[in-house]
Structures are given as C-alpha cells and as structure tokens.
C-alpha cells in the first residue's frame, strides 16, 4: 500500500534559530508588527510503500533518525 506522509523537521526549541530571528526582525519593516516567535524548519512530503500504517511509520522513523532530520539539532514529527 502507498501512504502519503509529511514530515515536519524543526530546530529544537533550546537551539537558536538565526533564520527565524532575522525574519521576525524584518517583519515590522514590511508592515507585519504582530508576528512573533518565528521559527523556520523543513517540511518534507513523500509517499512510502508499506504493508500497513505501522510499518510505514517505522520506515519513516528510521529515515528521519538516520537521514531526513539531524537529531542533534532538530526534532521531527511524522504525519501519515
């Protein structure tokens, strides 16, 4: 079976996110004062072939741990 999945990979909360901070600082100048706490990560979409949802999840967990995310500085979340 094919499963569509999306994976959110975000910088871990205790780790600084210079990109998010810089965007946040730029927003007022562009006319958006009311936006804060900007953080920027990655979103990966894909399809995975597996017997069932559990297997699909296992595969993606493995792929995230080893490759798609960098567990030292990023957290990830898998949506199936």
């Amino acid at each position: 079976m094919k499963f569509h999945a999306s994976i959110d990979v975000m910088p871990r909360t205790e780790i600084s996110d210079p990109q998010g901070q810089t965007i946040e600082r730029a927003l007022p100048g562009i006319g958006f004062e009311s936006v804060e706490e900007v953080r920027v990560g990655k979103r990966i979409t894909l399809t995975v072939t597996a017997e069932d949802e559990q297997e699909a999840r296992n595969i993606l967990n493995g792929a995230c741990e080893r490759f798609l995310a960098n567990p030292v500085i990023e957290d990830y979340e898998i949506h199936l």
Partner: protein, 222 residues
Amino acid sequence: MTKRVAVIVFPGSNCEQDAVLALRYLGADPHYVFHRDTNLAGFDAVVVPGGFSYGDYLRTGAIAAFSPVMESIRDFAVTGGPVVGICNGFQILCEAGLLPGALRRNAGLKFRCLPVDIRVETNETPFTRMSVQGDVLEVPINHFEGNYYCDKGTLQQLEDEDRIVFRYVNNPNGALADIAGIVSAGRNVLGMMPHPERAVDPAVGGTDGQVIFSSMLAGSLA
C-alpha cells in the same frame, strides 16, 4: 565625464567593495549608498552587488527587496537609468519584481565558486553594446542559488523580446534554458549570476568582465 555609480549596501552585502574597485579600475566614480538612503539623484548607474543580504535567510534577496532604497531603484529604472544586479543583486531584483523569475538552489545542491564561460546572446543592451553577439566571456560564478526559473510564458517572452543577455556554455547550476543573465522589458535593468567585477583586474581574475561595465559606463546618460 566620469560617471557616478551608486553601489548599494545592504546588511550582509559583501561584494560592494569589489564592485567599487572594479568600477574605479575602469575610471568610474563609484559611491556606496546604504540601503536606508533613498537618494539616487546625480547617479548615472546603480549596481546592486553580491553577497548575502540578510544572511540569505528565508529566501535569497527576500528581505532586502523591502529595503527603502528599492523604491528609489525602481524609480531610477523607470526613468531609464541602468541598473545591474550581480548574484545576490540579481536575486534581490527578482524578489523586488524588477526582473521576472526566481533563483533557486543549484541543481547539484552545492555552493560553487569557479570561472565559467558565458555567451553574449544580445548586444542590444546598455551592458553589452560594446561586445559582439556570440562572444564567450570567462567570468566567475559564486553562488548556492543561481538556478534561474520562470514559467513557460515568461520564458517565451524573454526569448521573443531578446531579453536573455547571457547563457552558460556549460550550465553549472541547472538554470532554465542555461540562463545566466536577463534584462527588464525596458532593457536597462540587468540581472546576472556571474560576477563581472571579479574579471576586471587582470591580477586577480582576467578581464572578460570589463566589457559589461564599460558598456554601461559608456552609454549611461547623466
């Protein structure tokens, strides 16, 4: 008369000094203009130099495109003044809508710094009028996001209107139709990924970039 050239400085620009050195080498009178300044009166040309404005955060050129000076550059361009955006400058001009399309990550997903050959596709621009169509220039590239993209209609329009100024001889980044540089519909705004300012002084990188600035300086009207 010596041409006054504005070289724009954004936070994170890093090729502004190189542009100034190259322009001086060619006898022009370049001045830094900080991105918060909006006065371009008295300038004969504008250079938006390379670098990493705002760290390339979000998208290359995305934040700088909203700087106060951009409105002035737009006005300057509307009146026909020559504007050249190099590398990050090209990216900024696209983000600001002065040029069509966008620059994406290199297809090889690597930063690349090396000399490449580009072919002059048209000499009917203020930046190539002193060259010959078909000339091949060796000019360094230095970018991670130089992979030009625009939609089909836009590409057709660029072709039809003879607005593709330079193409790569060997495409180094996956750019659509080998595009290395384009001009605006008014032909007075040039965006290019290669760095002509790095190919002006023979002591450091050849002289093939000279023709671009020389054309611009010879033609611009005060």
